[in-house]
């Protein structure tokens, strides 16, 4: 009977392998993708133990629970399997070690169970996940009992058989679950970490630029699950439905019909016909859809699995990606689906049609004259680069320049740069929209047209670096134009201002006692990892800084990204109202912003609320106070 447990382990592994291979057949329906297997495999331990752990550890309980149960399960299973070697299988000490490992697993299983019973948190999925603690416990307790019996030498056959039976039920159940149940995340997750579609995002680096789309491809964007590359399908399978994404998602919080977890599960369910029913939080306030039963059908549509409202509610803020312990790229999936809707089916959000058409025709989403972009600076005498050919700093004005409110910010920035003696110039009427909006709305063709035109324009001039106050423009110019041949040093205005203060070229006064809370723009904090410069500027002008409940890279979106204000999907609340509520909670008198979109969205909140001021405006105010 010594070999019964090892045999069980081998049967389990065989079953798990068989189930994983069946699942792999589904992944292979996806499009081809280039995967660097060697480096991926080598990087796996680090990716798992450092990068994944870094995310998981944000929930301390989950982190401890997972370490105990997963560590115990793997160690116990491997040790039990090794007992097939006679020298080990015959050792009672060895079985005592095996028993210890199973004991740890059992303790972990109890932690798993304690999280789900008597009541599970709302973000966790039910269904098969509710059985998981029992399977784990059965396997661990059975293994523990069996190993203990062997360690004690009490070879009472019926007891051993009972223990083995218990362990078998649990173990085989777990192995069976590898195809369609919770345990899929273990196999798919490990493979996903090896074959991750964005290998650049590990080792605490950022890889947030959208991949350009080949406009000559047979099909633009993803219409069915099979249009995603296979490693993305694999990544969706690694989802453990922990629901951290839905807690982070601003659209979900506002009651708009988007839930990133559900979205990923819908992509998974769209691949196969026999996926178990989803048992987590739904899309809030979602309209009824009538999903076709056939696998690999169209994903988006009122008569498909995902209603278009869900697709267009996303603000592309990447909060879900930032929170996902399995490193799933939700935003990439959303954009792929949007590309298909917009470019193949001509179904962007209703209000987007005119905006995209003006972007194509006038290079500007509002159809305004490009020469009117500098109207905000009437009287400031902005130097235009075409008149000089070169400048130290090229100031990229962005779409905010057309906005009356944001014009104040840009005027403040221009004055600060003048005061500091920065040699700068603007493109003037040659500056087109960066195409960020078109791209996030899925219109990659218009985006590429604008990107090429902008790269061509910028290529004509000589400048040291680009400074912009618009994080969306910053992200496009810094990260997304690279594939079109645009490589420049791109700096956000807050970083430039900090630099000027630190170099002594700007001498800020002190806004004593002004309590300020800083709202991180998604495209600056999460997309570009810049969270410190604005805070340092605030500290240097003597503002007493308080942090909102969510800040830094885990900040919450203002609701203005990804074309969400254009799609205007109905919800229970507005995202900026929620965010302003968080700002009000801090008791701060001023919400400091660093992005035209955030300014517009937060300024749109009605009622009694803190003032919304850009960092540049605050700095200028402090200088005027000091002067």
């Amino acid at each position: 009977m010594t070999y019964a447990l090892p045999v069980l382990v081998f049967v389990m592994v065989a079953l798990a392998t068989a189930q994983a291979l069946r699942r792999a057949a589904w992944w292979r329906q996806g499009a081809a993708a280039e995967v660097a297997w060697g480096p991926g495999l080598l990087a796996l331990p680090r990716r798992y133990l450092v990068d994944v752990h870094h995310v998981v550890a944000r929930d301390a309980y989950a982190s401890r629970m997972h370490a105990v149960v997963a560590g115990g399960l793997i160690v116990a299973t491997v040790l039990a399997g090794l007992a097939i070697l006679p020298s080990l299988g015959g050792s009672r000490l060895y079985w005592a070690i095996v028993a210890l490992a199973f004991g740890v697993t059992a303790a972990g299983s109890l932690l798993v169970g304690a999280r789900r019973y008597p009541a599970k948190p709302r973000r966790l999925s039910g269904g098969r996940f509710q059985i998981l603690p029992f399977l784990l416990l059965a396997y661990a307790l059975g293994g523990l009992a069996g190993a203990l019996l062997l360690a004690l030498g009490a070879a009472s056959t019926p007891a051993l058989i009972a223990a083995l039976a218990l362990s078998g039920v649990g173990g085989l159940g777990l192995a069976y679950e590898v195809r369609r149940g919770p345990m899929r995340h273990a196999v798919a997750g490990a493979l996903h970490l090896v074959a991750h579609p964005r290998p650049g995002r590990f080792r605490s680096r950022l890889d947030t630029a959208l991949a350009p789309l080949d406009l000559d491809a047979a099909r633009l964007g993803a219409e069915t699950p099979a249009d995603f590359t296979w490693n993305r399908l694999l990544s969706y399978d690694s989802c453990i439905q922990c629901g951290r994404c839905e807690t982070a998602c601003p659209a979900f919080a506002a009651g708009q019909p988007l839930n990133p977890k559900r979205l990923i599960q819908d992509l998974v369910a769209g691949m196969t016909a026999d996926e178990p029913p989803y048992a987590g939080s739904p899309y809030p306030n979602a309209r009824e859809v009538d999903p076709p039963a056939a696998p690999l059908a169209r994903l988006i549509g009122p008569d498909a699995r995902i209603h278009p409202d869900t697709l267009w509610a996303c603000t592309t803020c990447r909060a879900c990606v930032e929170e996902c312990p399995m490193m799933i790229e939700h935003v990439d999936a959303i954009v792929s689906l949007r590309r298909n809707e917009t470019m193949e089916f001509a179904r962007p959000p209703e209000k987007a049609a005119d905006i995209l058409s003006d972007l194509r025709g006038a290079g500007e989403p509002g159809g305004r004259a490009l020469s009117a972009r500098t109207d905000f600076a009437a009287g400031l005498d902005l130097p235009v680069i075409s008149a000089r050919g070169e400048a130290d700093v090229l100031l990229w004005l962005g779409e905010g320049a057309y906005d009356l409110r944001y014009g104040r910010t840009l005027r403040a920035l221009v004055r600060l740069m003048r005061d500091a003696g920065v040699d700068f110039a603007v493109l003037g009427a040659e500056e087109r929209d960066t195409g960020d909006l078109a791209r996030r709305l899925g219109d990659e063709a218009t985006y590429q047209q604008l990107a090429r035109a902008n790269v061509e324009t910028l290529g004509r001039y000589r400048f040291g670096r680009i400074v912009t106050a618009d994080p969306h423009a910053l992200h496009a110019l810094r990260n997304e134009y690279r594939v079109f041949g645009g490589e420049w040093t791109v700096v956000h205005h807050t970083a430039l201002l900090l630099e000027l203060i630190e170099a002594g070229r700007l001498k800020p006064g002190v806004l004593g006692g002004l309590s300020v809370t800083y709202h991180d723009p998604c495209y600056l904090g999460r997309y570009n990892g810049e969270t410190e410069a604005p805070r340092k500027v605030l500290d240097l002008i003597g503002a007493s800084r308080v942090e909102m409940a969510r800040s830094g890279r885990r900040s919450m979106c203002c609701g203005g990204g990804g074309g969400a204000p254009i799609s205007d999907v109905a919800g229970d609340r507005r995202i900026p109202d929620i965010r302003m509520g968080q700002a009000i909670e801090t008791g701060a008198a001023v919400v400091a912003v660093a992005c035209p979109t955030c300014t517009a969205m937060l300024e749109g909140v009605t009622g009694v609320r803190p003032d919304v001021k850009d960092i540049a405006e605050l700095l200028l105010a402090s200088m005027e106070l000091g002067a």
């Binding site: 099909r219 470019m343 001509a346 987007a352 219109d443």
Partner: protein
């Protein structure tokens, strides 16, 4: 129903970049909802009109003409050969002379009925007829039944154009053939002198045409003697209601009250 949409080379109202005029994109939307549609463009290049493919047009026939040629003879000849049931066009061009005469010229040359300013189209009850809803000022409509063939121009109040889609445009096709050579476009029969456009102040419609200069000035600046001050601070609700109704009647948006109204 065989439909041909006349497409022109428009200019973007702000940037002057060549684009498909919005009205023609709207015409295309009405046409595609109604039946089998092709596009027809006469001009030196198909590029500006080819945007229509992205709005769902399957086939664009491009009648190549020389730069500066009058496109109307080429359009008329092609339409005579094609004999469509319905020809759609925008009510005005965009970026050219913008006189709105071209559809009338085409209709006159073809000898078909022309109906202006459609906002909705539907097949008529009788075969060979079309129900056209025309836009009238201030949201009113007029529903007509028209015998086909006909040429219908489209009003800006028609449903907004569908989105341009790159993928859809890839699926469309442009056939270029030589158009009937027309004479060079006639120079404007009215001798005009051109100068940069300057917006002009509009007439104040509220200002009455009669009355003394002082009265007209008072009317134009809103300081009507009868209402005294134009801000009422904390009136009773009834006073407020009376003031509002009186004001609405004076500016003519509310029908006058029945004659013997109780004296206020």
């Amino acid at each position: 129903m065989k439909i041909v949409v006349l497409l022109s080379a428009g200019a973007h109202p702000v940037s002057s970049a060549p684009v498909l005029p919005r009205l023609e994109a709207q015409a295309l939307r009405l046409a595609l909802a109604l039946g089998e549609t092709t596009g027809l463009h006469a001009g030196p290049s198909a590029a500006p009109a080819a945007d229509a493919l992205g709005h769902g047009l399957g086939l664009l026939t491009h009648l190549a003409t020389r730069e500066g040629d009058d496109p109307i003879p080429a359009l008329v000849a092609a339409l005579k050969a094609e004999t469509p049931d319905l020809v759609l066009a925008g009510r005005r061009g965009q970026g050219g002379e913008e006189t709105g005469l071209a559809p009338y010229a085409v209709a006159a040359a073809l000898g078909v009925t022309i109906v202006a300013d459609a906002v909705a189209l539907a097949p008529g009850a009788a075969p060979g007829s079309l129900v056209v809803e025309q836009a009238l000022p201030k949201g009113a409509r007029r529903r007509l039944v028209v015998r086909l063939p006909a040429l219908v121009t489209v009003h800006p109040g028609a449903p907004a154009p569908g989105a341009y889609a790159y993928g859809v445009a890839r699926r469309g096709r442009v056939d270029t053939i030589w158009g009937v050579a027309g004479s060079a476009a006639e120079p404007n029969p009215i001798a005009v002198e051109e100068r940069p456009y300057r917006p002009r102040p509009k007439l104040m419609r509220s200002a009455p045409g009669t009355g003394s200069a002082a009265e007209r000035l008072a009317a134009a600046t809103g300081g009507m003697a009868s209402s005294g001050a134009n801000v009422l601070v904390q009136p009773t609700p009834d006073e407020a209601a009376r003031a509002i109704l009186e004001h609405l009647r004076r500016i003519g948006v509310l029908a006058p009250a029945v004659a013997n109204k109780p004296a206020a």
